[in-house]
């Protein structure tokens, strides 16, 4: 059997762990609300940059619809939702998350804002591990390169133009880096193709959604 000192040790360790647990729990309980606020502020920072204007009336962070699983590989994602941008209940554009894997170092997560007609509102890189100062010109704070995507669509840019200039495409490469911009261009192109394929579902789903709302209101009125 254990000797007395072992029981004493267990007791001391238990008490310390308990006090530590209570302390962490208390601090967590106090800060929880604030942390959720900072998280959503952080997430929104990029979302509102790819919304067409600041006058949207819905909460673009939480107003979402799902993406069917079969499109996940196309977008490079494992989970994710389409964020909706609405003005007075009317859908004006969507924001699609997407991940490029062909970068120099790991995943490049991007957000693509798309107007309902299929043209790009804007693109932003949310996170990446590309080489600092060499491959990070796609950050909007570092250069205007990413703004080249604005207003582009499958209609006004043919498939062979979705490349860097070096390979006969439309987009500039950064000095010293072609891999990173190529990866982003390719993934933005894929995202637009996805929208073409899934467009009818998104608009239909929203219409059904709106109709339910309308009919509910109607019943409520009666």
């Amino acid at each position: 059997m254990f000797s007395g000192s072992v029981w004493k040790n267990i007791a001391v360790l238990g008490i310390v762990a308990l006090i530590s647990g209570i302390t962490v729990f208390t601090v967590h309980a106090i800060t929880k609300g604030y942390i959720i606020k900072s998280e959503s502020r952080y997430a929104k920072r990029f979302l509102f940059q790819v919304a067409p204007n600041a006058n949207y009336t819905n909460d673009i962070l939480t107003d979402t619809i799902n993406i069917p699983k079969k499109y996940f590989s196309m977008l490079g994602i494992e989970s994710g939702e389409i964020h909706l941008v609405k003005i007075n209940g009317k859908l004006i554009s969507i924001i699609v998350p997407s991940i490029a894997y062909d970068g120099y170092n790991g995943k490049i997560k991007i957000l693509v804002g798309i107007n309902l007609d299929g043209s790009i509102v804007s693109v932003r890189v949310v996170s990446h591990k590309e080489t600092q100062e060499l491959g990070d010109k796609m950050e909007v704070v570092k250069s205007d390169w990413i703004l080249n995507f604005n207003k582009k669509s499958l209609n006004n840019l043919e498939p062979k133009s979705w490349k860097v200039k070096k390979y006969g495409g439309y987009f500039d490469q950064f000095t010293g880096a072609t891999i990173t911009p190529s990866a982003i261009i390719k993934q933005v192109h894929e995202t637009l193709k996805y929208y073409e394929m899934d467009k009818s579902r998104i608009i239909k789903e929203l219409d059904v959604f709106n109709e339910i709302k309308v009919s509910n209101n109607f019943e409520g009125g009666n």
């Binding site: 040790n9 001391v12 360790l13 310390v16 762990a17 530590s20 302390t23 962490v24 601090v27 967590h28 800060t31 604030y34 942390i35 900072s38 998280e39 502020r41 952080y42 080489t131 600092q132 100062e133 060499l134």
Partner: protein, 237 residues
């Protein structure tokens, strides 16, 4: 024993036993996080917070904890304060927290903190332990921030980039361009550059130590030389 006056804590923490330059504790965050001043400041604040409060707490309970239980209990205490500062950083500087990533939770296993707990805090009074934590934290932070400032200047030609992550929107244009716009030197952005510069910092410290020794120790060294001569001639005769 390891009982010291405040003056010697100050001297040892900042200079003689500097955790970054002499003992090389916390080398991993030192190398990884020193690529920008704002990240270095963020990690410095977090490390100093944990070191200060873990030293105080450990000093408070030193009489009740002994032997085999010491290390696990120290780790629990350090982990508690690390989690607390992590939560606070999420509230007040979420973006900086994201930038620092894994290096905030890794404070738990930073040898510097456990070293101070084991060597000093569990043998000294609360006030002295708090002072020790603060000073050794400052010594580590000084190396981290100096290294990051040099790296930032040499790698992108600017200093104090993105300080708004820590000081709010008032600090948006604190960044100072030192070399021409568009300057960039990749080596100093990556870990090898950090190692090279850390080497230079250590060399600089040793140089200063050498100068100080030759200035203050002239008399003693001349005395030593004589005794040496006597000794060498001794066996021969």
């Amino acid at each position: 024993m390891y009982i010291r006056s405040y003056k010697s804590i100050l001297n040892n923490g900042i200079w003689e036993e500097n955790q970054g330059l002499i003992l090389f504790l916390g080398l991993c965050p030192l190398i990884a996080v020193s690529n920008s001043v704002v990240k270095a400041l963020g990690l410095s604040i977090a490390t100093m917070f944990v070191l200060l409060f873990s030293n105080i707490t450990i000093s408070l309970i030193k009489k009740r904890v002994s032997g085999i239980l010491k290390i696990p209990i120290f780790i629990i205490i350090i982990a508690t304060f690390t989690t607390i500062i992590e939560l606070f950083m999420k509230v007040f500087m979420y973006e900086l927290y994201i930038l620092l990533g894994i290096f905030i939770p890794l404070i738990i296993v930073n040898g510097l903190i456990l070293n101070r707990a084991e060597i000093f805090a569990c043998k000294n009074s609360v006030v002295k332990s708090a002072f020790d934590g603060l000073i050794f934290g400052m010594g580590f932070s000084a190396v981290l921030i100096t290294l990051s400032a040099v790296r930032e200047i040499l790698s992108v030609g600017k200093i104090f980039i993105n300080m708004d992550l820590l000081f709010g929107s008032a600090a948006v244009d604190w960044s100072i361009t030192i070399f021409s716009e568009g300057y960039s030197f990749l080596l100093f952005m990556l870990p090898p550059g950090a190692f090279i510069l850390l080497g230079f910092l250590i060399a600089l410290k040793n140089l200063i130590d050498g100068k100080v020794n030759t200035l203050s120790g002239n008399e003693r060294s001349s005395l030593k030389k004589e005794t040496k001569r006597v000794r060498t001639t001794g066996p021969v005769a």
